[in-house]
Amino acid sequence: MIPELGHFSLIIGLAFALCLSIVPLIGVAQNNHQLINSAKPLSFGLFFFVAISIMLLAYSFTVDDFSVKYIAGHSNSLLPYYFKISAVWGGHEGSMLFWVFALTAWTLAVGLFSKQLEKEFVARVLAIMGMIAVGFILFTLLTSNPFERLLPNFPMEGRDLNPLLQDIGLIIHPPMLYMGYVGFSVAFAFAIAALMAGKMDAAWARWSRPWTVAAWSFLSVGIALGSWWAYYELGWGGWWFWDPVENVSFMPWLAGTALIHALAVTEQRNTFKHWTLLLAILTFSLNLLGAFLVRSGVITSVHSFAVDPGRGMYLLVLLAIAVGGSLTLYALRSSKVSSPSRFTLYSRENVILIAMSILVTATVTILLGTLYPLIIDAMGMGKISVGAPYFNAVFIPMMITLFIFMGIGPLIRWKKARKGELSKHLNKISIVSVLFGAAWPFFFAGEFNLMVFVGMTLGCWIFLAVLKDVFNHAKQADGRLKFSVVPLNHIGAAIAHAGIAVTVIGVTMVSSYEKEINVKMAPGETINISGYTIEYAGTKNVLGPNYSAIQGQMNVSLDGEFITLLKPEQRTYKVQSMGMTEAGIHTTLWRDIYIALGDPLGGNTWSMRIYYKPFIVWIWLGAFFMAIGGFLAILSKRYRKRVLINQQAIDQTNPVILQEA
């Protein structure tokens, strides 16, 4: 009964979504205020019923209702309760329901926090989000219903959640990722609403910015968590594999990063509007494309969902309607959007333009690399593979160029750089960065290393540039520093940029200086890796709630001083009788020691893989800085102040910053 209620609740949600996508638009067309005002209550209703639906699914998980096909396939009575709940998004059907839930949550949020916006505009935005909801609720109901029953013969016990997913990383990684993916639908809806209305001004950009930054921050955390999870859970010690599934999350992140910057310029300079519109459409389209690629089986990936051509076809139709429709709208209506620009070669506008160009090129490159095997196959030219060596070869030079401009961006003036001023700002920090980058490899490894030099110089350069920028803003006329005057969104941007610097340093260090040892070890044997001594003391048998494991006992010491006992495990999960490696990791800010058990070689001797990974935690730390920066920026007062909406007051030819009431 409960699953049917959940199913029914989702159907009611669909009805709300249908009304939401039609009624407010009729209201706008007929200038009927009652209909326009219906958008908010409809979006509340949509959220409410979808929320009930997903809660009922979670409830069915916790009471082990294995008559539900999805639960029978992804849970087990022995599974701890928190994994039963996270199993809601552990498979295709449930994750689609979560996708829909996240979408309605964003819709609700837009409805709640849009008091300062024009009513017609909010009605349009909510209606567009309603349309997206219709598409995805229908998809869930028609092709991927998580409430489907296995009646009358249902199993007494579930087949268990994939052991790899029984992990804290998988409790929080997908929700963050989906919140990010879906969050960009707000920016998309804003863009489409602007095209429908035929007007797009600085106020529009100001409303749109916090939503976009929020989605971007969620996506940053989501991607970082996924990378971290892969690192500690898969036992290969890698943190990025350029697998299609990773690529489809990275593309919207890159495009979204470009979008944030385009929006900033649109708000502050009233230009770059076409960039903003197209990037908003592009970012959201890439999310839809990602869903298609991952869930249709068109592309081979290690992380694959159920492959079902019916689903692929449905998603392709959805993609065609959403993206085709919005691009048609753009082609027909964008001429109404005037985007006056009057900046010179040496200006912040131009630096951002270059940065956006590189980001879009990087996005296109990853798309090309991900789809190229498909292109070749579709043209009947055989089978090829495109993997990490290709992506590294083309992506790294692009990022190096981007990071150079990242240091200039915050320090250059809008419109036209003053002669001498820019070089005055940049001279010192560029010299310091180069010296730091050149000295670092000698300090760390005793010899020069080109990649480390480049990476550390750029990391330092990006960091010093934002630091200098914050100091410049904090500097008072009398020469004292007063940081409270620096606006929060400015500090947020600085922290996010610093986050990039942190990640760059982490990536540089771990790629250049990591050490890997594959070794056969008998109890009592020791091995040295980068100064650390690792002693294998033997194994223990341990029991988990739904698995048994052999646990290696590894004493790690440095210069004779004991540091930690690492316990890598080889687990066997009872239900799926699947073996799994659980690495033993000791993390500090400066390095990880990572041990994974390989195969038993008899007599308690094991093959083992031992890594020394300097600075690896910086990679994810940087991503968290980016997210923190993003969330701080959203808290900025400028986004909460009521903006006077008086179209006549906005003079298109004269980029005025709007008056704040």
């Binding site: 249709s296 691009l327 789809l371 292109i375 196959d377």
Partner: protein
């Protein structure tokens, strides 16, 4: 001019859509062999039943050869086995086995228990020949023509439907070629 530029994103997306649509009907897992059209590489290996008797490429020449890669660790080989016994009766072809990275005693037991369809099985304990002809796993079946060229590789168990659809037409083509070559 400007209005045409605004249609460019739409056009690009349209092209992408066509590609994705095509992609729905392709199988990314289907993997053609790189060895098609290449001669069977030379080798020198013992046969399974007698380690003293060593065979090479020339022992497989002269007629249409089916080389079936099998092993006792391969589950699907067991499904395929009864059908191989049937194929072996076809006078047009000669069926040879390639016992791939297997335990010899287990393999001999297998042949005793399920009957032996092969003219002989090459015993490739190290997987050397298997690697040389680009074997992914077992079962796999190669068709080698009378001149020693690899014409086809089929991965997975053979059954009647696959035999009719994938193998017979090719065998007929090669037969025609043999006749042509003779005349």
């Amino acid at each position: 001019m400007k209005s045409i530029i605004r249609f460019i994103p739409l056009i690009l997306f349209f092209l992408l859509g066509i590609l994705l649509y095509r992609g729905l009907f392709l199988n990314p897992q289907a993997m053609p062999s790189a060895m098609i059209g290449k001669p069977l590489p030379n080798f020198e290996l013992p046969i399974l039943k007698s380690l003293e008797q060593r065979v090479g490429r020339d022992d497989l020449k002269g007629s249409i050869v089916l080389l079936n890669v099998w092993a006792t660790w391969c589950v699907q080989c067991k499904y395929e086995h009864p059908y191989l016994l049937e194929i072996a009766r076809d006078p047009r072809i000669k069926l040879y086995g390639l016992n791939f990275t297997d335990d010899r005693n287990a393999a001999l037991r297998w042949l005793k228990q399920y009957q032996d369809p092969y003219v002989f099985s090459i015993f490739d304990e190290q997987g050397a020949l298997g690697l040389d002809i680009g074997v992914f796993g077992a079962p796999e079946t190669f068709v080698i023509d009378h001149t020693g060229i690899i014409r086809k590789r089929f991965a997975g168990p053979i059954n009647d439907k696959i035999w009719q659809k994938d193998f017979l037409p090719l065998i007929e083509i090669i037969e025609a070629e043999i006749v042509q070559g003779a005349s």
